[in-house]
Each structure stands twice: as C-alpha cells, then as structure tokens.
C-alpha cells in the first residue's frame, strides 16, 4: 500500500528526514516512536503533503503510484488521512458541516451520490459512536475551544467518517485521559481492518497495549534507527533512547541508515 524509499525532506534547506525507508501493507499496524525532534511529525506531514516541507530525494509510492505528485486534497480523497499532533481550530464552521463537506468530496471522488444534511446526520450519529462523541460537539465549530483531549478525539471522529485506507495518527494518545485513551484506541481498532493500514506515532507503550502493532520503528535524527516487533516498544520503555543514539545501527535492522 505504501512504500517509502530513501526519503529525504526538510524545510528551508535544513534536512530533517535523512533517508527513510518504510513499507506498509494492507491490514498492518505500524508504530513509529523516537525522541522529540527526530522527525516523526515531519514524516507524517510530508505524507499528507504539507507545502512547507520540500522533498529533496527519494520517493513515496501509494498503491503503486507517485504520492508526492498529488496535492494534499487529492491524497486525502484517495484515502490518506493524518490525525494532527496539534489539530487546527476552524472557527465559524460546525463540525457537522465540515464533516459532511469532506465526506461528500470523497464520495464525489469515488463517483458516488452526495449525502444531503439529513442523510448525513444519520451517518454521523453512527460514526460518532465509534469514539463515543457527544452530539453537542457536532454543532460546535471544528476544534474551536475544544480541550486538548477533545480535539484528539475529534480527529478520530473524522477518521471514522472518512474511512481512510491509510491513517497516520500523530500522537493521538497524548492529551487523552485514561478513559478517553481506551475509547479512542477502541475506535481505531474498530476502524482497522484487513483492507486498510494504520501508522501510529507515539511516545508511549500504553497506547500500544490497546492498539497492538505488528511493527515498531524507531526514528532518531531523521533516520529509522531500529525496527522490530511489538516487544521493541517495551524495550524502549525500559531503556529509553540513549542506547540507540550511542549505537544507531547496532541491530542491523535500521533499513534507513545508509
């Protein structure tokens, strides 16, 4: 589904991603961990098409096609979704209005009928159950005045409505209280199936207790420094990242390191 090959990207001439290699197949869940500033959000934003980042080398194939050639909205309509580490507030536009627009844009892209406000209301009611989101949030402006945790939950509501093929969730767990974490993680599990894939960016093992990844990648200084199965996350929890920094290529699994 997604193939990232030797991806180099940066901002204003500063290289942040220094050769990422990553392959994600249908049905998989990948976790990306790594120290602050290692480039996790940068990778997510480059995949989503943020205009501030320039790709200087490498390629990204999505369903066999050049992802980097697509505009952000085209990527979204073809099934890529990024949950923001810091979701943006959109004052004056209600959650329901916004979600219906986004949903219908995708339907149009797929050549399907658009839903009118009433039809969409029913669908939204169903999808809101996935993250146990109260109806009162639908009439409020998108993320406007939402608490940190509410914003994160709202991101997953959007995911539930848009049903992406590839979801990149950037620290969706941070800011969630214990109950909310369980609910939101449960929602992601409900949405995950054999035909889609999830990339979880996280700092904490506790998320991975709920959403169990097949693969864990550790990003350090713009490269994948270590890769493994779900046990790697537990190891990191105990040891921290220092041992990786000292010997970045120690395990030989760091495919991104040239």
């Amino acid at each position: 589904m997604l193939e990232i090959k030797d991806l180099h990207a940066g901002i204003d001439g500063n290289e942040i991603l220094k050769g990422i290699n990553l392959t994600v197949n249908k049905g998989e869940i990948h976790a990306i961990m790594g120290p602050n500033g290692s480039g996790k959000s940068t990778l997510a934003k480059v995949l989503a098409g943020h205009p501030a980042y320039q790709v200087t080398k490498g390629e990204v194939l999505y369903e066999g096609k050049d992802l980097l050639a697509l505009a952000p909205d085209e990527r979204a309509r073809s099934g890529i979704f990024m949950a923001f580490q810091y979701p943006i507030e959109v004052p004056g536009v209600s959650n329901a209005q916004f979600l219906r627009l986004a949903y219908n844009e995708k339907r149009k892209h797929l050549g399907e009928e658009e839903l009118d406000p009433l039809e969409f209301k029913d669908l939204l009611k169903e999808r809101a159950k996935v993250v146990e989101m109260d109806a009162s949030f639908m009439t409020r402006s998108v993320n406007d005045g939402f608490s940190g945790g509410e914003k994160k939950r709202n991101e997953i509501l959007q995911m539930a409505v848009l049903e992406p093929k590839l979801a990149v969730l950037d620290e969706t767990d941070s800011g969630l209280d214990i109950d909310a974490l369980r609910i939101v993680a449960g929602g992601v599990n409900q949405l995950h199936n054999a035909n889609n894939a999830v990339i979880l960016v996280t700092h904490y093992q506790r998320l991975l207790d709920y959403i169990v990844p097949q693969f864990v990648h550790v990003l350090a200084n713009g490269r994948i420094a270590k890769e493994g199965g779900k046990e790697l996350a537990l190891e990191l929890e105990q040891k921290g990242y220092d041992w990786l920094k000292a010997a970045p290529d120690s395990n030989g699994a760091g495919a991104g390191v040239n």
């Binding site: 909205d73 979704f81 923001f84 959109v90 004056g92 536009v93 627009l101």
Partner: protein, 444 residues
C-alpha cells in the same frame, strides 16, 4: 466646495419646492428643516480634507445630479417585484415599506402588530396629538445635523418618514421590518426614521435596503433610536443596495438607564457606502452590542464610523466588526470609544478584524479608545490578515479542494457575526448571501 455649489443649488430648489408644497403654516418642523438646509448650505458635502472623511471621497455624489425623490413619484406597479426583494417572513404583517425614501402606506402591512404599537408616517404622527409631542421631543436630537452635511440634508428633507413607538411595558413579538426599496435611477433618497421605545418595552427592528435594479442613486437615511429605562431593542441593518449606488447613513442611538441595545449591521451593497453609528450611553447601567460585517468586492468602498460614548457609570459596550474584502475593494473602520471622566466601572470591548482575499483589496482600520475615567475595563484591537495557510492545509488534508477550503474559512470568518443574529430568516438569508458572494456552494 466651490465646484459643488451648483449641485447643492439643485437640492436648494428641491427643498424650496418641498417647503412650498407643505403650505404656509410654519411649525417647529418647518423651522428644523430650514435650519438644516441652511446648515447644509454652509457645510456642503464633506471633503477628504476632513479627518472624518479622509478615506471616503464623496465627490462623485456631489458631482451627480441626483434628484430628491418626491412623494408622488413611482406610486404604483411595485407589488410583484416587492415580494422578491429581501422579504422577512417573520415580518410579513409587520412591515413598513419605503420606496425611494418615502414611506408608502399602501405597501405597508401592520396586521401582526398590537394596537398599542405605533408604526406610522411621521406626518401622521405630527398631526396626532398623542404622538406629536413625542416626535418633537426626540426628532433630530440624536442625529446631529450640525457636523454632518448628509445628516443636514436628510433633516432638511424630512418628509413621509416613519415613526415607530413601543409604549411602556409592551413586548413586541413580531419583528418590525423597515424595508427601503430604491426604485428610480438618479434619485436622492432621504429616509428618516424615529424609533422610540418606552420603559421596559422590547422589540426587534430590521432595517433592510434593497434595489429593484442595479441603478445609480443615492440613499442617505437617518435613523434615530431612543430607548427609555429598561427598554430592549434588537436592531438589524442589512444594506444590499445596487453596486452602482451610494449609501450614506447615520444611525444615532440614545440609551436610557439599564436599557439594552443590540445591533448588527451587514454591508454587502453599494459602490460607496458610509455608515456613521453613534451610541450615546446617557444613563447608568445601559448595555450595547454594536456589531457588523462588511463583505465587499470589485471596486466597492465601505466605510464604518462608529462612536460609542460612555457618558455615565456602569455601562457596558461590546463591539465586533468584521470585514471581508475581495477584488480592489476598500474598507474603512473607524471606531471611537469614549469613556467620559465620570463614567466609572465602564466595561468596553472593541474588535475589528479584516480578511483580505486579494492583494489589491485594502482596509484602513483605526480603533480608538479615549478614556478619561480611571476605574474601567477597556480593551480594543484590530487585525488585518489573509487566509491562514495552516487552517487551509488542515481542510485540504480532509479532502477539500483549496478553493473550497478558502471559501469555507471565509464563511467561518463571517459566521462569528452572522451566528449571533437571532432572527432565523435573516440569519439564514445572510448565510446564503455570504456563500453566494463567495461563489461557493456549501449548503449549510
């Protein structure tokens, strides 16, 4: 001003004709009109040399041979078109219709208003001993014709205006719709409205300016509002004049003790518009919301000059004006908040935010606070910006085309003002009008 003299003579002629047509009996109103005309002869139309008119050049108004509309003109054949124009369903039977600035009783319908509520022609009010003294006590007391040439001209041409009177304790459910229809090309229209709300009364007024065609004309209304103790008024003004027209308006409001005045002005139309809104907080405990939205494009020019005058203690004012400018349009916001020396415990908040959709649009914003009291809470701010790129990116990542994203953000920007409008039909219509102006099909 010398070049303009000739044109001002045109107004002089029309004025003489009007005075004659009213017969010989001299009343205080005749004198008021005469004084105002004399004042206009001295003032003329304002020039850009005057600080208050620095950014708004009305030379085109002075240059044009606008003919002050006479009461008899265009008396028929408006009904069908009328129904299309800015109707407010909630006010189908509580509306006063003006054509070219003249109140038309034949087109007005007041069935939904209780017997106690008065909504009549000014002339009629003056002829009625129950109201003549009330009119006399308030007319031309809020709107100062000594400083503003347009107000002077309007005052000189007071004729078939409207008098709206809400007696003590009366709560008016139906909104009272004042519909101003510009029908004739090249006319100068001077609608005059006096609204008096007595103690503890409550009402909603909608002031709506529309045109039959994209014609060139001048509408220069003066609306005076007087709220007695504890009175509450919601006041909406929607200005959708022809984009060839000129609209130069004054709204002047006097607030009684513990009264509440909530107004929103929406500006879409006119080639050049200027709105002076003055709220005098003359008594303790009054509260006002003075909000607005101007949405202009092409070569439109929209100027708002607002004065909120805290003259007494314990008054609260809130002001939010937003502007959306596209094309080569230009907007001016000048907002003065005065806090007089004895106006302790004043709470005044003023914000002006502008969104520029094109590189050629321009806004001059000047919020001004002048505080002479020491125990007050005041804040003001102004901003001019463009669509936020991070917000736009967020929408794009949800599959919205950048054009749609920009429209949605612009719509959201306007919503802060529109959403607070309590009258459903007006709010929904404005939503649609905003989307229409943005060429967007968002179906809200």
């Amino acid at each position: 001003m010398v070049i303009e003299l000739q044109k001002e003579n045109l107004y002089q002629e029309a004025f003489q004709a009007l005075q004659k047509s009213r017969g010989v009996e001299s009343s205080w109103l005749d004198r008021l009109r005469e004084n105002a005309m004399e004042r206009f002869a001295e003032l003329g139309f304002p020039s850009v040399k005057e600080e208050e008119w620095k950014y708004t050049n009305v030379a085109a108004i002075a240059r044009t041979n606008f003919q002050p509309a006479s009461p008899s003109a265009g008396a028929t054949q408006l009904d069908a078109e009328l129904k299309q124009l800015g109707s407010v369903p909630e006010a189908r039977s509580s509306q006063l219709v003006f054509v070219d600035g003249i109140l038309r009783n034949d087109l007005s319908s007041l069935g939904a208003l209780s017997q106690q509520v008065v909504a009549i022609d000014l002339d009629q009010a003056l002829a009625d001993e129950r109201y003549s003294e009330i009119v006399r006590a308030h007319l031309a007391r809020q709107a100062d014709y000594v400083v503003n040439g347009f107000t002077a001209l309007n005052t000189a041409f007071i004729n078939r205006g409207a008098f709206v009177y809400i007696p003590k304790g009366v709560l008016v459910a139906a909104p009272i719709h004042l519909m101003f229809i510009a029908q004739s090309e090249n006319t100068a229209n001077f609608p005059r409205v006096l609204i008096v709300a007595e103690e503890n009364s409550s009402a909603t007024i909608v002031e709506n300016y529309v045109s039959v065609e994209e014609a060139r004309y001048l509408t220069s209304p003066v609306v005076e509002v007087v709220l007695a103790e504890g009175a509450r008024l919601e006041h909406y003004k929607v200005q959708r004049e022809s984009v060839e027209a000129f609209h130069v308006a004054t709204t002047a409001v006097g607030l009684g003790r513990n009264s509440s005045y909530d107004t929103t002005t929406i500006t879409f139309g006119a080639k050049l518009s200027r709105h002076d809104i003055v709220v005098n907080m003359d008594h303790e405990g009054a509260e006002c919301w003075v909000d607005g939205l101007y949405l202009v494009t092409g070569d439109q020019h929209a100027d708002t000059h607002s004065v909120i005058d805290h003259r007494q203690p314990n008054c609260t004012s809130h002001q939010l004006y937003k502007g959306i400018l596209d094309g080569k349009s230009r907007a001016v916001f000048n907002g003065k908040v005065f806090v007089r020396h004895n106006a302790q415990k004043t709470d005044a908040m003023q914000t002006n935010k502008n969104l520029l959709l094109s590189n050629e649009a321009r806004v001059d914003t000047k919020p001004q606070l002048e505080i002479l009291a020491d125990d007050v809470k005041c804040a003001h701010g102004a901003a001019v910006g463009q669509i936020d790129e991070e917000e736009l990116f967020y929408l794009e990542t949800r599959g919205l085309h950048p054009d749609l994203g920009r429209n949605l953000l612009t719509y959201g920007f306007a919503e802060e003002v529109i959403a607070k409008i309590k009258l459903d039909s007006i709010r929904n219509e404005l939503d649609e009008a905003v989307l229409h102006r943005l060429n967007a099909k968002l179906e809200v």
